[in-house]
Subunit: 212 residues, 2 copies
DNA sequence: ACCGGTGTTGACTGGTGGTCAATAACGCCG
DNA sequence: CGGCGTTATTGACCACCAGTCAACACCGGT
């Protein structure tokens, strides 16, 4: 007795189906976390079969990765969009963009930072890219990084990003301080850690930080 | 045909056996990484049966956790040992202790930071403790943290620890700078991030950092 | 020598990631 | 409008591994 009432089938254009499954997966991840997201749960939510999810995404890891990349590339595109503000205002604006994009996918970002996708090269590549983009935006493009390719500054920039991610994760988790105070804190941490920050930006940030 | 030549048995005192298995597990983890460490691989290395590892450690996660806690508690004990140096020298010394203990178990720490044990509450508790200990040591005990329990400083301390761990991981991974330069970088990052650092320590650190 | 306690193990089970050949919608052509 | 080919979709199957258990064999004590 392995049989049951066969599931009614509905055919869709592959790209539509894929989108539908992905939406279900994203919803599942945002509702229950990346760990709970499996082909089984995603399929259930989409009203399709487990096998179909494998057909479109290939593996459990790939499914989770795809969902994570949704959040990551949203942030990346946000950070890559041109900014025509005065130089002095750009870092603060970039910081705000960062927090905005992250809070829009909070659950997924929390799980990424928790290490839910640790060991997946594709995800880690994407993270590296978006981190680089963040640093570039914060240092106002003609910036510090890439200037002295390796050594001290490289490490500092990377360390600052780790600080930002960790502090943001804690803040998302409910560390009571208001968002604008968080933003100032992160901006200030950059300024003090990287004294080489180019000038129009540096004093712009300091102005914001100072007006406590 | 499920049978094979039965394995010769050797009886040991439970505590001895446990220690032997743990040593094999640590060796395996240090050689091949925490992900590769399973009851199977540990048992193979120790010349015992898979079931025995389950008997002594209970589960795969528990086995990995035990190995990780070996590294974590080594660091914790190092940080908790009293320090009779002059106040001004203590932060630098603590930083050195940190790097010493970490490099002694580099592979395991790399995996911990990579997120190999993400989601394991017991490990995360231990990490929280050791991070608190590090902050306490760096701020010279009568320190900043716990002083203003939550808010800004809490976040900054946590962020600084994230920076330290990330930068150290990168350094272990082969970022060319020498150890003493790394040490100065980390010390300096603390001083600039946490201006509230108590005085004898603060100028002690600055002295070290300055003598570039 | 043998015998009881227990340290140790091979064999089994359940669950899950992943595959595949069969199935059935849907569009199209006659 | 009905049959038919294409192919999206699926149930059933397989392999593998974490974890369990009752039987086994080693060893110290008598």
């Amino acid at each position: 007795m392995t049989s049951a009432t066969p599931r009614p089938r509905t055919r869709h254009e592959p790209s539509d189906r894929r989108r539908q499954l992905l939406e279900a997966a994203v919803a599942e991840a945002e509702a229950a976390g990346l760990d709970v997201l499996t082909p089984a749960t995603a399929a259930a939510r989409a009203g399709a079969s487990r096998a179909l999810v494998f057909h479109y995404f290939g593996s459990t890891t790939a499914l989770r990765r795809t969902v994570a990349l949704e959040a990551v590339s949203d942030l990346e595109q946000t950070l890559l969009a041109p900014d025509d503000r005065p130089l002095a205002d750009r870092p603060a604006h970039a910081m705000s963009l960062f927090l905005g994009s992250v809070t829009a996918h909070r659950r997924v970002w929390e799980d990424i930072w928790r290490g839910a996708l640790a060991g997946d090269d594709a995800t880690e590549d994407a993270l590296r890219r978006v981190r680089t983009a963040l640093v570039a935006r914060m240092t106002t493009t003609a910036g510090v990084i890439g200037f002295t390719p390796s050594g001290r500054l490289q490490l500092l920039a990377q360390g600052w990003v780790a600080l930002v991610e960790n502090v943001t994760a804690a803040w998302l988790g409910g560390s009571g301080i208001p968002r604008d105070e968080l933003e100032r804190l992160l901006l200030e941490s950059l300024v003090v850690l990287v004294p080489e920050l180019p000038e129009p930006a540096r004093s712009g940030v300091l102005a914001i930080v100072r007006r406590h």
